[in-house]
Symmetry: none
Subunit: 412 residues, 2 copies
């Protein structure tokens, strides 16, 4: 069964707000096993909305519209949908009563245009709205459904969870299940080359790669009659991915981030960690501390942006800084070793580089970043050359540092 989403609102076309409703509804529809092929955004304009709705009617089983159900004159989603579906608008007694009560509760006066919200297309299913004055509506014509939902997320989400999801689940025979196999320390194209046969050969489950900063995510999606069956289809393909990528895979759980995977390793090996950051300037510690509970393993971190700070806080010998410079493998290693000692931690990840845009030289260009991970006496040191903006270079450095930290623990 196919579903199509139409979001109505000029504020979306002007970029005043981000369309989080689209992501929310899309994810729910994917969970329901509905195939969404199109999403559109259109302003509060009758002609364009009508044209879009007619197109959708010609190609999708379920059409979800959200927004434009308000009381004002420029809210015309309902009027347009009723017109396209050839249904007159009739007043729904209960909707009118609920609007009355809703406004009374907030001691607000019901203005004339509020009653407009009690009108619904004839013979449609009304989705009553405890969180606002605009009821949702389901218009069924043969096997096709047009579903109208209010725009504000605090009205749309409860209405979808409690009324729309169960309704769609009841009419949808198939289930879709997804797994996200996440890799670090490998580029998108080399990852894809490794599994081209799977990407091209697989139809159920499908394998789709996504490039993230310093990571590659592979989404496995299977369709079946039941969730259990769908997951059964995924198992052998995931096994194959594990064979091919081994340790580069850090999770198959879409909710697990790289820093969470590192946290689990710290916990499993009961190792404490600290950070010594120059060009990343706190972003690495900041990412590790995204993980609730990290406090047991990360007690402190150092932002040592200047040479003085590297000497003072990490005990980097002035000699090393003078001889090799702040951006050198020697300094990175001295930072890592010194940081671990200063914090009394088992591990210290140190990053030093040239984030730019200035400060680059012939032999030390912008984007050159050295990182070293000290882990219980052993040093793992890495040279990276990034390009792009200052923030991009710093983001990539953080991702590589987390990957290096993960590798150091695994090899520990």
């Amino acid at each position: 069964m196919t579903v199509e989403l139409i979001c109505v609102g000029t504020e979306l076309l002007l970029g005043n707000i981000v369309n989080t409703n689209a992501a929310y509804i899309s994810e729910k529809c994917a969970m329901l096993g509905l195939s969404m092929f199109y999403q559109s955004v259109v302003g509060d304009n009758e002609r364009r909305l009508e044209e879009l709705l007619k197109t959708a009617k010609g190609r999708s089983d379920v059409i979800i519209l959200c927004g434009g159900l308000g009381p004002t004159q420029d809210d015309l989603t309902k009027e347009t949908a009723a017109k396209v579906m050839g249904r007159p608008l009739v007043e729904d007694k209960r909707a009118r009563k609920e609007i009355e009560e809703f406004m009374a509760k907030r001691s607000r006066n019901v203005t004339e245009n509020n009653w407009k919200q009690a009108l619904v297309p004839k013979d449609s299913k009304v989705l009553y709205n405890p969180n606002g004055t605009a009821p949702g509506i389901i218009i069924k014509e043969g096997e096709q459904r047009v579903i109208l939902l209010p725009g504000p997320p605090n009205e749309l989400i409860p209405m979808f969870e409690e009324q729309v999801y169960p309704y769609l689940h009841a009419i949808q025979p198939e289930t879709i299940c997804s797994k996200m196999v996440k890799l670090c320390g490998v580029g998108e194209s080399s990852a894809e080359t490794k599994i081209l046969d799977l990407i091209e050969g697989q139809t159920n489950p499908t394998v789709a790669p996504y490039a993230k900063t310093g990571e590659v995510h592979l989404r496995l999606t299977a369709k079946a009659a039941s969730e259990a069956e769908a997951f059964q289809l995924i198992v052998p393909v995931e096994e194959e991915l594990k064979k091919r990528f081994g340790n580069l895979i850090y999770t198959d759980d879409p909710t697990v981030t790289l820093e969470m995977a590192v946290y689990e390793l710290l916990k499993a090996h009961n190792l404490t960690v600290t950070t010594a950051e120059s060009c990343t300037g706190g972003l690495l510690a900041g990412r590790l501390i995204n993980v609730p509970g990290i406090s047991t393993y990360l007690k402190e971190g150092y932002v040592t942006y200047s040479n003085e700070a590297k000497e003072k806080l990490l005990g980097v010998p002035a000699e090393i800084l003078r001889q090799h410079g702040a951006v050198s493998p020697q300094t990175a290693e001295a930072m890592a070793e010194g940081g671990a000692k200063a914090a009394g931690a088992d591990i210290c990840v140190a990053v030093t580089g040239i984030a730019g845009p200035d400060g680059g030289t012939e032999d030390k260009p912008v984007g050159l970043v050295y990182m070293s991970c000290y882990c219980r006496g052993k040093l793992h040191t890495e040279k990276n050359q990034y390009s792009g903006s200052r923030s991009k270079i710093r983001e990539y450095s953080v991702a590589s540092a987390l990957t290096l930290l993960r590798r150091a623990i695994l090899e520990h």
Copy 2:
């Protein structure tokens, strides 16, 4: 001139990611005075993309496509656009060379599928991409333009800012000028109520509010025959905003960020600063270090996530921690004062709070964050209560801490 946006990516249709590109591009197009009537999202599917592109060709002057320019098999935006526009794909020497260099710099092997990214539609304008291997493309046919951009925001945004925006600005007949008046330390709704008369009354220039994390941006957009005239129209409205918001305005330059404004203040007053972070765990230092040149004023920063670290690195008395707890105004002030002393800096901003999801109590709920700024002997302390996810709470804390730092310098 009308513009239409088509975002390509199955991950959007599955709700794996929120479509922030759409909001970004829409906002920029609004700034350019381009009228956007349609946004669509379609998956990595040639037939549907082709159909959508043909529809767009029939109704819009500028068509922007983003996503689907990667090296993998399921990236087919470029191939489809070339087909619809009737242009063969030819290899762009410079693009090929830049891909080679990009991969070499990262000591990654160029796999066969990378070369696919060096192919561009014949006679098109190539937008070279320093942040990735997929170049952007502009195909001009008569007065119509089809613009292809890479999907990852850290590639798309710089490319749009540096290459697409100037290109579109040059072909836009009306002269549109806009200024972005940026406020910190005020909520969106209270900012809006302060200027409702301007938002509703103004037609040229228009005043549009945008809510950002811990900030409100007011965009003033004027249309006129010449740039000078347009700016003349903006002047009185901006003056009025300055009257109403005063010091809450930190810039009227769209390229200036809050951390850049803080940096300029540090420079102007020649003050050094350090950071003492608990729940933000390095993100505050990380944001300050976004600014190139900050090293003169920020030498080091402390991530003191544990009580031990607060005592050891900042000299927070154990007594205060025991009596008032780590999340208290007393601890925040001791962190600020101690941090400044430890770093030998004029200023120290300290943040301590409960980012959640756990650790909240009846009288100290999740989202409670104390921050204190020590500035040359004077303490500025603030209590904040945020709601939302752990990361939202930390992001808001960083924005408030920068705002507090700014206020402390201004009052210094």
